[in-house]
């Protein structure tokens, strides 16, 4: 092993062996080998306390929310709104009512695109996204543009996968209504300068949505410090159940927006002639929400807070450094995305084999990695590859797992070159 590979061992901030005991799935096997899970960018696993909290809630406490004046309902409602407060604190929001629950980031962006678009986007207005967005932060804006006669502008990226800020500034004008970019790119790992992006957008009077699907699990956040108008997240990428996520929005902006989905719970009053809408956040939460999943999300946030987001970020960064130097030493492997500011995610291209063959062979060794375009086809096109293989890390991963990954990739290269 080369000297540069000895960064992490004995890292004091995270006791990874102890952490791993919190996650039952990490002691299972895949195809007869111990599971090495490196697809955390797609979804993360749940610690036992989240699994047990959800079980206990369903077994002993479950009731509907907001609709009944009896004990179970009141208790559920209290817990449910308590999680809204936890999310608000986790993201650094000023008021808990600024958090709207959705099924995840996809629905969150669709909600904002639809409601904001309906209220604020007109013909010849402009919306800016970047060349490294997830399809969830691309398609809804394309549709808004199509429907409202607006134009979509795209911030280019340099060869390292960083947004070209000078080009961004040139795209901004008094026609810009919305700038929608991710905080962390799921395809490359780039951490975007969201505060600077927001300040520049606000300077021309545009609003800003940050897609936080990949940042919320990995770093300490403060939406007020960033200054953005909207910030989205997905629970299943932050150790909580799937089917729950949400979006922070500034209250004065929420108040101006029309609802996206309509029905029960989002109304003030309904007569057969006219309906008046409830205040945010209820206005944007029509229907019975995923109650149990919200409770699980709250438990996941407590767990993350106990470990400390700064500890998580520091530990994961050491994993990134370790993995990057390992990968740089493998002939025939090219890392796609070398941003100076990067999350613990390595997207790479193996010259000898297609990413789908790579992931199938990694799976033979018990390693779960993603191979594909990561729902970011424009990014793949930009870097001239059909797809990449991606190892995305969490604080429960160990350097030994990255060693195993590197060995497995070398074996795969030998297999295809033989």
């Amino acid at each position: 092993m080369s000297e540069s590979n000895t960064v992490v061992t004995g890292n004091p901030v995270i006791d990874v062996d102890k952490i791993r005991q919190d996650f039952p799935i990490l002691s299972t096997t895949v195809r007869g080998k111990p599971l090495i899970y490196l697809d955390n960018g797609a979804t993360t696993h749940k610690p036992l306390r989240v699994i047990e909290r959800v079980r206990k809630f369903d077994a002993e406490e479950y009731g509907t929310v907001r609709r009944g004046a009896y004990k179970l309902c009141e208790h559920s409602t209290q817990l449910y709104e308590g999680v809204r407060k936890k999310v608000a604190d986790f993201l650094g929001a000023e008021k808990q009512g600024e958090i709207v629950f959705t099924s995840g980031t996809t629905q969150a962006i669709n909600l904002v695109a639809y409601s904001f678009g309906k209220r604020f986007i007109e013909k010849d207005d402009e919306i800016i996204i970047s060349n490294i967005e997830h399809h969830a932060n691309t398609v809804p804006w394309q549709i808004v543009c199509e429907e409202r006669g607006a134009k979509l502008k795209v911030i280019p990226v340099n060869d390292d996968g960083e947004l070209v800020m000078e080009e961004y500034e040139k795209l901004l004008s008094n026609k810009t209504r919305m700038v929608a970019v991710n905080h962390v790119s799921n395809a490359l790992g780039t951490i975007n300068p969201v505060k600077e992006i927001t300040e520049k957008a606000h300077a021309v009077g545009a609003r800003v949505l940050i897609d936080g699907a990949q940042s919320t699990p990995h770093m300490k956040l403060d939406v007020q410090e960033i200054g953005c108008d909207f910030y989205t997240f997905s629970g299943h990428k932050m150790y909580a159940p799937s089917g729950i996520g949400g979006v922070y929005g500034k209250m004065d902006l929420w108040e101006e927006l029309p609802p996206y989905v309509t029905g029960g719970d989002m109304i003030m009053q309904v007569t057969l002639e006219k309906t008046t809408y409830a205040k945010p956040p209820a206005r944007f939460e029509a229907g019975t929400p995923p109650i149990t999943q919200v409770i699980g999300l709250g438990e996941a946030i407590d767990y993350l807070n106990e470990i400390g987001m700064d500890n998580i970020a520091a530990y994961e960064n050491s994993l990134l450094e370790y993995g990057t130097s390992l990968f740089n030493d493998i002939d025939g492997v090219r890392i796609i995305g070398n941003a100076k500011n990067k999350a613990a995610l390595i997207s790479f291209y193996v010259e000898a084999a297609h990413p789908h063959d790579v992931v199938t062979l990694l799976d033979q060794d018990g390693i779960s990695c993603r191979g594909g375009h990561h729902c970011a086809q424009p990014t793949m096109i930009r870097f001239g590859v059909p797809a990449t293989t991606r190892a995305s890390m969490a604080f429960y991963n160990k350097t030994e797992e990255l060693d195993a990954l590197a060995e497995s990739i070398k074996k795969c290269i030998r297999f295809f070159s033989a």
Partner: protein, 152 residues
């Protein structure tokens, strides 16, 4: 350095490295472009079919993709050259059933010959489309699907 799996057999690796009939047919009677949008596999299949008898005089392909899709297309071209289009359609059905695990070549009747090499795919549901793209594209060509075909 070996893997305990039936997927990447030597013949498959060999066809991946040296795909057969990897060229365009200039005056093809049939051709079709096929894509697997999830993987990015992208092929064009060309045929030269005899008018009267329906015999496939020549069959070729071009494109890019994973080892499974390339080998599957390459083996398909060697398997079908000189055969009739009726057999091509029948083989496609059997091949598809085999990779979905609905036809067991060791028990059920079939005329898949060396194409049974791809039997291992049934253990990898996420890869079935890699193997079937060639055949979908072939049928697209025979049915004159000018807009191309997609596995999705």
């Amino acid at each position: 350095m070996s893997y305990d799996n039936e997927l990447y057999q030597q013949v498959i690796l060999d066809h991946n490295r040296k795909p057969r009939n990897f060229r365009e047919i200039k005056d093809a009677t049939h051709s079709c472009h096929g894509v697997n949008p999830l993987c990015g596999d992208d092929i064009t299949v060309y045929l030269d079919v005899d008018d009267g008898e329906g015999v496939i005089n020549d069959l070729s392909f071009q494109g890019s993709g994973c080892a499974i899709s390339k080998a599957s297309t390459s083996l398909m071209t060697t398997f079908l050259k000189g055969k009739k289009i009726d057999l091509a359609r029948k083989t496609k059905e059997e091949f598809h059933k085999m990779i979905l695990g609905e036809l067991d070549p060791e028990i059920d009747e079939h005329s898949l010959g060396k194409l049974t090499l791809f039997m291992g795919i049934r253990e990898y549901p996420s890869r079935t489309k890699c193997a079937s793209l060639a055949w979908h594209t072939l049928i697209g060509a025979l049915d004159k699907k000018h807009e191309g075909v997609s596995t999705e």
